[in-house]
C-alpha cells in the first residue's frame, strides 16, 4: 500500500504499519503546544478534576503570547496563572513573552519532520511547514492530551495544492492563500489535510511556507503540511536542533490524493480580502481607493522577519500618511532582534511606524491596537471576521505586508507594486 506523508506520520504515532483515510486511531503525541489563552486557565480545572499533572513535561511547550504584556488586571491574572502552571508542572520549555507561539515553536527547534504534534490554537497547522502532522485542538481535548500523552484522530484524506512558477515582485505566500480562500471557500479544506507542493514551494523559505500552512486553517482544513527538504533541514539546524531523517518522511509515489488544485503563481498579483471573510479576496485593484484609519503588520501570519522586510521595501524613504497610523507587532523577539540588526526596524520607525510588543496584540482583539466603531484597518493577519480586531462595526481588510505598508503611505488601499523598484 502506498501512503501519504500524513498517513505515515499517523501510522507511526499509532504504532501501526499503515492507516487508511477515515479510520480512527489513537496516537502518541510527540509534542503538545499550549498558550496563555487556551492553555493553563482552561486545562487546569480539568486536570484538577482528574487529580493528575502533565504526563511528560519535556513534551509540552508553553508560550505566553495572547495577553502579553498585560494591559489590565484580568490579563495580568491570566499571565500570572500561566507562569504558575509552568513552575508547578516543572515545564522546561516555557517561553514567556518571546513571541507568537506558532513562530516561537519552530524558531526554538521544537519541530521536525515526522512528528505528531497538537496545539491548543486554531493556527497550529503552521507547524506542518516542517513536515510534521500538527493540528489544533480545543481545551477538553488538550486536557486529555496533557493527562495521557495520547489523542484520537480520524485519518484525513490529502488535498494536494500544486504551486508552479516564480512569484512576481510584490507578491508573497499570503497572496497565494488569499487567492485559495477565494477559490475554494472557507470549507474547501473539509477538515482534510492540505499538502502544498510544486516548484514554487521547493524554493520558498521556511517563514513563507509557514504562512501557507498557517492559513490552511482559513480553508477549513484539519491542517496543512509540506514535506521536508534541504531548506527545512537548514532552518532546523539554525534553530539548534537536528532535522532527523528527512528522506523517511516523504509521500510514496502515487500515494492516494482526494483532489489536486494547480495554481500558476507567475500569474498572481497582490490580493486583498474585503470584510468580513478571507474568502472575500480578489486582486488589490478591486478594493483600491478604500480609505484606511489603521494599517497593522502583525500576527503569526504576517509579522515574521521576512514580512517586516517586505514592509520595509515599500517604506524605505517614505512616510506614513497623516490621518492614518501604522502599527507593527513583530512575531517574535528573535525576529525583532534580527530586524534591528539588519536595518529593517530603522526603516520602519523612520517611516513613522509605531512599534508594538511582540505577541498576538490586536490580531484577535486581545492586546493593544484595537479598532473603534466604524474604523477601517488593513492587516497582514489571517482573519477578518466581524469584530475580531475591536468594535463590532470596524472593518478589516487583509493583505500581504507590501500592500499593508503601501496603504499606510497613501492612507488608502493601493497596489503596492507602484512603490517597488
Amino acid at each position: 500500500m502506498t501512503s501519504t506523508l500524513t498517513q505515515k506520520i499517523i501510522a507511526h504515532a499509532a504504532g501501526r504499519d499503515t492507516v487508511s483515510p477515515g479510520e480512527i486511531v489513537i496516537c502518541k503525541v510527540d509534542l503538545a503546544m499550549i498558550h496563555d489563552s487556551g492553555g493553563p486557565r482552561r486545562v487546569q480545572p480539568i486536570l484538577d478534576k482528574l487529580g493528575i499533572g502533565v504526563w511528560n513535561p519535556e513534551k509540552v511547550v508553553l508560550i505566553s503570547d495572547h495577553y502579553v504584556p498585560a494591559v489590565d488586571a484580568e490579563s495580568a491574572r491570566i499571565l500570572n496563572m500561566t507562569r504558575k502552571f509552568a513552575s508547578d508542572q516543572n515545564l522546561p520549555n516555557f517561553y514567556d513573552m518571546q513571541g507568537i507561539c506558532h513562530v516561537v515553536l519552530p524558531e526554538r527547534g521544537h519541530l521536525k519532520p515526522g512528528m505528531f504534534v497538537v496545539g491548543g490554537d486554531s493556527h497550529s497547522p503552521t507547524g506542518g511547514a516542517f513536515g510534521c502532522f500538527m493540528f489544533g485542538i480545543g481545551a477538553t481535548d488538550m486536557a486529555g492530551v496533557l493527562a495521557t500523552g495520547e489523542t484520537w484522530v480520524r485519518v484525513p484524506e490529502t488535498i494536494r495544492i500544486e504551486l508552479t512558477g516564480g512569484m512576481r515582485p510584490g507578491v508573497s505566500a499570503k497572496d497565494i492563500m488569499l487567492a485559495l480562500c477565494a477559490r475554494l471557500g472557507m470549507d474547501g479544506g473539509d477538515y482534510q489535510v492540505i499538502e502544498y507542493a510544486g516548484d514554487t514551494v521547493s524554493t520558498l523559505p521556511m517563514p513563507e511556507r509557514m504562512t501557507l500552512c498557517n492559513m490552511a486553517a482559513e480553508l477549513g482544513a484539519q491542517t496543512g503540511i509540506i514535506a521536508g527538504d534541504g531548506i527545512t533541514a537548514d532552518f532546523i539546524r539554525n534553530a539548534g536542533a537536528h532535522p532527523g531523517d528527512i528522506d523517511r518522511w516523504q509521500n510514496d509515489p502515487g500515494a492516494p490524493v482526494r483532489e489536486t488544485h494547480r495554481i500558476d503563481i507567475a500569474a498572481l498579483g497582490p490580493q486583498v480580502a474585503a470584510p468580513h471573510s478571507p474568502a472575500n479576496a480578489a486582486a488589490v485593484a478591486e478594493t483600491a481607493g478604500t480609505k484606511i484609519d489603521q494599517a497593522y503588520i502583525g500576527a503569526c501570519t504576517g509579522a515574521k522577519l521576512v514580512d517586516l522586510q517586505m514592509a520595509a521595501e515599500v517604506l524605505r524613504g517614505r512616510e506614513v500618511a497623516s490621518g492614518s497610523r501604522l502599527l507593527v507587532a513583530p512575531a517574535s523577539q528573535k525576529d525583532m532582534a534580527a530586524a534591528a540588526a539588519d536595518g529593517t526596524l530603522a526603516i520602519l520607525t523612520a517611516a513613522g511606524a509605531i512599534m508594538m510588543p511582540t505577541g498576538c496584540g490586536a490580531c484577535a482583539g486581545y492586546g493593544a491596537g484595537v479598532l473603534a466603531e466604524g474604523e477601517v484597518c488593513i492587516a497582514s493577519t489571517a482573519r477578518n471576521f466581524r469584530g475580531r480586531m475591536g468594535a463590532a462595526s470596524s472593518e478589516v481588510y487583509l493583505g500581504n505586508p507590501y500592500t499593508v505598508a503601501a496603504a499606510a503611505v497613501v492612507g488608502e488601499i493601493i497596489d503596492p507594486r507602484e512603490f517597488l523598484s
Partner: protein
C-alpha cells in the same frame, strides 16, 4: 444492559446542509449558563426542536454539520437535550472532535440526508449499519472503533479518563 454502540429505534430530527455552530449554540448566549444556551439550540432553523426533543432522539443532517467555530457548547447543547447521535455525510472537524469528547455519537453516514424527520432509526456503530424502521431501508455508515465507543458510553473524554485513572 445496553450494548455499546447500539441505538434502537431512535426518533429522528432531519435537517439540511451546513447546520453551523451558531445555529447549535447562538453566540448571543455564549455567556449564559448551559440551560439557557441549550434552550435556543437550533431555534433559528426549527423552533419546534427544543419544545419537543426527547432524550434518546437523534439528528440526521446534511453535509458539514457543526461547521464554524470551535465552541464546545455546540455539542454540549445537544447533549443537554439527551440527543443520542448525529448522522451526517460530513462534519465540521472541530465539532466532530468536540461531539465525541462530550459523549455525543457523531456518525459519518452518506445516506443521512435521505432519512426523514419523525422516523425511527436503529444504529449499529460497531458494524457501521443504519436501519430505518418506517421504510425498511438499510444504509452503511462509517463504523466507530471500540475505544471511542467506550468513551461515548462513559459520557465523554473527561469522565472516561476519570474512570481510567480511578481504576
Amino acid at each position: 444492559m445496553r450494548k455499546t454502540g447500539v441505538i434502537e429505534k431512535a426518533r429522528t430530527w432531519a435537517y439540511g446542509d451546513y447546520v453551523d455552530t451558531d445555529v447549535l449554540a447562538p453566540g448571543l448566549y455564549m455567556k449564559s449558563p448551559m440551560e439557557v444556551m441549550a434552550a435556543h439550540c437550533l431555534e433559528t432553523i426549527d423552533p419546534d426542536f427544543v419544545l419537543n426533543v426527547r432524550p434518546g432522539d437523534i439528528i440526521c443532517a446534511g453535509k458539514n454539520f457543526g461547521m464554524g467555530s470551535s465552541r464546545e457548547q455546540a455539542a454540549q447543547s445537544l447533549v443537554f437535550h439527551g440527543v443520542a447521535a448525529v448522522l451526517a455525510p460530513s462534519f465540521g472537524g472541530i465539532f466532530y472532535r468536540n461531539a465525541i469528547n462530550h459523549g455525543l455519537m457523531a456518525l459519518v453516514c452518506a445516506a443521512a440526508p435521505r432519512i426523514a424527520s419523525g422516523h425511527h432509526v436503529s444504529i449499529n456503530a460497531v458494524d457501521g449499519c443504519v436501519q430505518v424502521e418506517e421504510t425498511g431501508n438499510e444504509y452503511p455508515c462509517e463504523p466507530m472503533p471500540e475505544h471511542l465507543l467506550a468513551m461515548l458510553a462513559d459520557g465523554g473524554l473527561v469522565s472516561h479518563l476519570n474512570r481510567r485513572f480511578k481504576e
